[in-house]
Symmetry: C2
Subunit: 324 residues, 2 copies
């Protein structure tokens, strides 16, 4: 999950100078905030600082990021076949060069201290943002697209799969040592639609990416119902949100993929004692052996006390020794 962020005073210091998108697009600064959690909280890997919505932006959609209220917006969301038809599959080496430069700079500055992870949104999750245009509770427009105009939905998702595959290939080429695909909105679909409109395109991406040995982590939020299919998608590692029991997940799929997760990020609002107990509980559920990447079950939440993130990382290091 994104590691840099507002909970870090050092991150906030950088953000006082530049807005969010400028930070994403300034490789030196993106590299700086990418490395902050490695130095400050001692995580075992870095994940490049960026945003999944730079891909739709690279496809020509105007992206507005406003601090505080409402989150990111596309003022002209996709609502017609003509708009989908007009979307290019962008060349990441020109349109997303800033991410690749940030990866190169980060790798250089990390100097092999820890590995660097690249990432992208899944085609379905990107399509959801592009069609809704802003935050939504009901997913009216994207669902109208898949239910009433499934051919157009597939037309859009196919383009996105190719765009995401090219983007992830370029990230690996630039130095990313693993890639992660975030399917934030897979869980709003019924199982059949998840297969048809989300997982199918994740599989497609994985088949197209030039991996060069870089493992792929697939994280589909609220998709526990399809755990076996996700594990069978070509993923090397499956990310688990906190609602899945990692012990049961290991029983089901742990012999052929690694598992990443899965402490409830809201537990970091709690006390050091409770966080340590939570970490131990997950380690115990996974049990002894290899194949577990300890992580939160989603990103660090707003207003999480910085000290508690450190408590979490230290607890993982301390207690995992006897299991991993």
């Amino acid at each position: 999950m994104r590691q840099a962020g507002r909970y870090l005073p050092e991150y906030r210091a950088v953000r006082e100078k530049v807005d969010f998108l400028t930070l994403c697009k300034t490789p030196d600064l993106a590299a700086e905030v990418t490395i902050q959690p490695v130095d400050i909280i001692g995580v075992d890997a870095a994940i490049i600082f960026s945003d999944i919505l730079v891909v739709p932006e690279a496809m020509g959609m105007q992206l507005v990021m406003e601090d505080g209220n409402g989150g990111p917006r596309f003022p002209a969301p996709i609502r017609s076949h003509a708009q989908i038809d007009a979307l290019p599959v962008p060349d990441p080496h020109s349109k997303l060069k800033f991410v690749l430069d940030a990866i190169r700079t980060t790798r250089n500055n990390l100097n092999n201290k820890v590995p660097l992870i690249g990432f992208s949104g899944s085609p379905w999750t990107l399509a959801t943002y592009m069609v809704e245009g802003k935050g939504t509770k009901n997913f009216r427009h994207i669902k109208e697209l898949i239910f009433s105009y499934p051919k157009d939905a597939h037309f859009l998702l196919d383009k996105l799969a190719r765009a995401v595959a090219a983007y992830l290939s370029a990230q690996i080429e630039a130095g990313a040592q693993a890639i992660q695909i975030f399917d934030t909105w897979g869980g709003v679909l019924a199982q059949e639609e998840f297969e048809e409109f989300s997982l199918q395109y994740i599989r497609r991406v994985l088949s197209l990416v030039k991996r060069s040995g870089a493992p792929a982590i697939i994280f589909c939020k609220d998709c526990g119902h399809s755990l076996e299919k996700i594990a069978d998608s070509g993923a090397d590692v499956v990310g688990l949100d906190w609602t899945i029991d990692i012990g049961k997940a290991r029983e089901m799929v742990g012999s052929y993929v690694g598992l990443q997760g899965n402490l409830d990020p809201a537990m970091l609002y709690s006390t050091p004692e409770r966080i340590e107990k939570g970490v131990q509980s997950i380690l115990k559920k996974f049990g002894k052996g290899r194949g577990h990447i300890f992580n939160l079950g989603h990103g660090v939440l707003p207003d999480t006390p910085f000290e508690n993130v450190k408590v979490f990382v230290n607890a993982v290091k301390k207690f995992s020794v006897q299991y991993h």
Copy 2:
């Protein structure tokens, strides 16, 4: 799920005269909008028009319902042991008399045309609203309560379980022929916490309610991971959201509980053809036999075209004959 609502012109006509809470608290009007969907769209049962938040209000919390922006609010949310301590377990016969009167009037006006369902929020879901005070994405305060002050959380949930049980018993006594418990927020918890802070108290409610033969429907949204435990809670029927495959659910628990659900309500934004196809697909997944109450997987969404709700109900009636 709530059947009356903004999609019905006849409901909007009533709401032009009174605000939402006044509608809940005026038995004649509540009965009128409860019966509207029976007459207009032809559903096979009515569910009393009310809101789950009348219970915290009956416990002394000020409730603000504003149309349009932001949803319901408790301006003074629960944030201390002293506040929990001060909450009474209300006598529904005085504090929630308006609901009981609405049930009596509705039963009288329905004249046994279709059965009437009463309902309540689950203790966990009510606690979430009471502690957060307003809509939330991160559930910071309720999770801080369970993780940092679990004893206080149990103190609150125990009171709520007793309040809900008394309320549901009174609804049955007033004429409700079935009851439904809505656990809207069970799915934000990990499995262990779902058991400890939500399902345990649903079980408690079910053990305390004087059912007098009225069946209990339990609906926990996004809790597919605990389907077997929910089915084993004392429920007669388990409500399924649309992310669960009803065929698999029937295999797992269908021999000892009925299943209610589970069309994605967003499908009603689509075309009549697609809605009919969706209905047939769910009927086919459940298969032939008894024990299925067809329903949406959640409430009717805002801006759903009225005609499509009718298409849905008619499709269920038409296609279910060969299965049920």
